[in-house]
């Protein structure tokens, strides 16, 4: 039961050939790339991935969700989760004032308690990046921008690249791009790969997170393939969802992605991060994801450089649960900011 899901690639015969073909693919890329634009080569590689046992993945995720984290461990988990948050606002009604308030909260989540860590980043639409960049100057909090025609990704590559550059010019440290799910689902892997590559190049030193939108990918096999595709094309993070599609982040999809980054690390030595986003509102959910990370990818992923949680209202719940742990009485909504 413990390894009922995606088998580690290095442990299987299929995995050995996969690892060699991944390395060949990466080598090819650095040479200028036969992989580039080749649907056939990519399809051969991605369909060679070990299949995902969907029932097993769901059972494993459900079993891990029952784990109880208490007292000192819970306090540590809550603080770790706070440090992993990409504090997000992606509304049509976002105003400069709201972004300023969000940035203040990101720097110091609990104004009455200095010991609460700052969050990892704020996540915004590109036109608001400039405001956030100025507000967060001198802090550890990074600015992430959703780019490439978020959330649908339905625009030409030129528009997507312009969107990305605009965000970077305004001071974004991280880019959250969406893949073209239509192209992926119709088998045009080459096109998806090329787009991620192009955005990767535009990003230069900025961190690139690739949103797979698992809610639209239909199967967990597709989630594994999209994860590998994004990682091969140079993603620093693979991210579950935009938060605009239901279902957003689910535990089985996250489990598959965490297995994929672990296997990619084994095959290539490069550590790709995972970001879960959408519908994570309670501290309990966040802690379940941390358990999933530790048990699937490993504890080396349990830091803000390798795992992120995209959320907005989650932060208040984490702060309230932390307060409960420290004071012994249940916290009240009236004592935390409205956002």
């Amino acid at each position: 039961m413990r390894r009922a899901t995606v088998r580690s690639v290095e442990k299987t015969a299929a995995g050995a050939s996969l690892a060699s073909s991944v390395n060949a693919a990466l080598a090819g890329r650095s040479l200028g790339g036969e992989l580039a634009g080749s649907d056939v080569a990519l399809r051969r590689l991605l369909s060679g991935l070990p299949g995902v046992d969907q029932v097993g993945a769901e059972a494993r995720a459900a079993a891990l969700a029952t784990r109880s984290v208490k007292r000192e461990s819970k306090l540590r988990a809550l603080e770790l989760a706070i440090a992993m948050i990409d504090l997000t606002t992606l509304e049509g009604a976002d105003t400069p004032g709201k972004v300023v308030a969000l940035c203040a909260k990101a720097r110091r989540p609990d104004p009455s308690d200095e010991s609460v860590p700052a969050v990892a980043a704020v996540c915004l639409y590109p036109d608001l990046v400039g405001i956030a960049h100025r507000q967060l100057a001198g802090s550890s909090v990074r600015v992430a921008a959703v780019a490439t025609a978020f959330p649908s990704g339905r625009a030409s590559l030129a528009v997507k690249l312009a969107d990305t550059r605009e965000a970077l010019d305004a001071g974004a440290d991280e880019i959250d791009m969406v893949i073209d799910r239509g192209a992926f689902l119709s088998g045009r892997y080459g096109q998806v790969y090329e787009e991620v590559r192009a955005v990767r190049e535009a990003c230069a030193d900025a961190t690139l997170k690739v949103i797979l939108e698992t809610g639209e990918l239909a199967t967990l096999d597709n989630v594994a393939r999209a994860s590998w595709l994004a990682m091969l094309a140079g993603a620093d993070f693979v991210k579950t969802s935009t938060g605009k599609v239901n279902p957003a982040s689910t535990a089985p999809a996250a489990l598959v992605m965490l297995s994929a980054v672990r296997d990619f690390h084994v095959a290539t030595g490069r550590r790709v991060g995972v970001k879960v986003a959408g519908g994570i509102r309670s501290a309990k959910d966040a802690i379940r994801y941390l358990v999933l990370v530790a048990e699937t990818a490993g504890e080396q992923w349990l830091n803000p450089m390798s795992f992120r949680i995209g959320a907005s209202s989650l932060l208040n719940d984490l702060l309230m649960q932390r307060s409960k742990q420290l004071t012994g009485v249940y916290a009240g909504h009236d004592y935390f900011t409205i956002d």
Binding site: G328, V329, Y330, A331, G332, H333, D334, Y335
Partner: protein, 296 residues
């Protein structure tokens, strides 16, 4: 031996009696305790009546969360409407008077006649408070003469979530007398039922669930008062606390916990049979005074 009432019969002729398992009432639903615990409820004469859920602190937390979610909409409904809902509760009680009389007789060891009187008094008490719903603001509120160009007026507003430790002895009349004033003024209630006599409270919850009381406005927990009271007294989302049902030696600690977020605390032991005063209606409202400029 009091005369037999329906529902209080002993098994006859080989038929196996179906014992009811009573559950909690949280957010309009009837969950078992999160802890999975239950306890045996006995009649005043020591006969086993039923199993009731033994609520844990997490059930108390869930009940407060449900109450908090329901309270703003309840407070913003019109006072007239709140009165109608409480009146509806009285109507429903009337229709199930026989069941409540049996339940009270078993719980309190009262005679059939006395328990029928208690149920009638409970129904009348609900009607009394229902009538006050759209009148007490006129009595408690005022327009104030001030030396300045202002129209100055004072109105009562609900406190929010009120935790109520129901009376331990009077299982129905006492319960109704402490619950009704909390909800007619626009608060949401988390009630800890009498520890030894919880069944009338759960039956009242079943009445509330099938009348027009919005989910979460009334929540009923059964279990150890001494275990649940400190959790509710310390909870920062609870705005006020009625500790009349707590043991006298437990009250100072509860008041200290309640001071954490300056909860209003009510300790008021009364004769439930007597005509109530407005004290309970006043106990869980905040007074808001508005200075409205005039003539500018």
């Amino acid at each position: 031996m009091p005369e037999r009432l329906p529902g209080a019969e002993r098994p006859r002729s080989g038929r196996l009696e179906v014992h009811k398992t009573y559950k909690l009432f949280i957010g309009g639903a009837f969950p078992r305790s999160e802890s999975g615990r239950s306890y045996v409820v006995s009649s005043a004469g020591g006969r086993r009546l039923a199993n009731a859920a033994l609520a844990s602190r997490k059930d108390a937390r869930d009940a407060v969360a449900a109450a908090r979610a329901a309270q703003p909409a309840w407070a913003s409904s019109t006072a007239y409407n709140r009165g109608q809902v409480v009146y509806r509760l009285a109507e429903m009680l009337e229709g199930r008077a026989a069941q409540f009389a049996a339940s009270v007789a078993a719980a309190e060891g009262a005679t059939a006649r006395a328990s029928r009187r208690i149920v009638a008094a409970s129904i009348d008490r609900l009607v009394w408070y229902a009538g006050w719903a759209d009148k007490f603001a006129q009595v408690v509120g005022s327009s104030n003469p001030v030396a300045g160009p202002y129209f100055n007026f004072t109105i009562p507003e609900p406190t929010g979530v009120v935790a109520v430790l129901a009376p331990q002895v009077s299982s129905l009349l006492g319960l109704v007398s402490v619950l009704a004033p909390v909800v007619v003024t626009g608060n949401a209630a988390v009630v800890v039922a009498s520890e030894a006599r919880p069944l009338p409270a759960v039956t009242l919850a079943e009445v509330a669930a099938t009348s027009d009381v919005p989910a979460g406005v009334v929540n009923v927990l059964t279990g150890r008062t001494g275990e649940l009271a400190p959790v509710l007294a310390g909870h920062m989302d609870v705005g006020a606390l009625d500790i009349s049902g707590a043991a006298p030696d437990a009250r100072p600690d509860l008041e200290r916990l309640a001071a954490g977020n300056l909860k209003r605390v009510l300790v008021l032991e009364e004769d439930w049979a007597a005509v109530p005063s407005l004290r309970r209606l006043r106990a869980f409202v905040e007074v808001k005074t508005v200075w409205h400029p005039v003539g500018i």
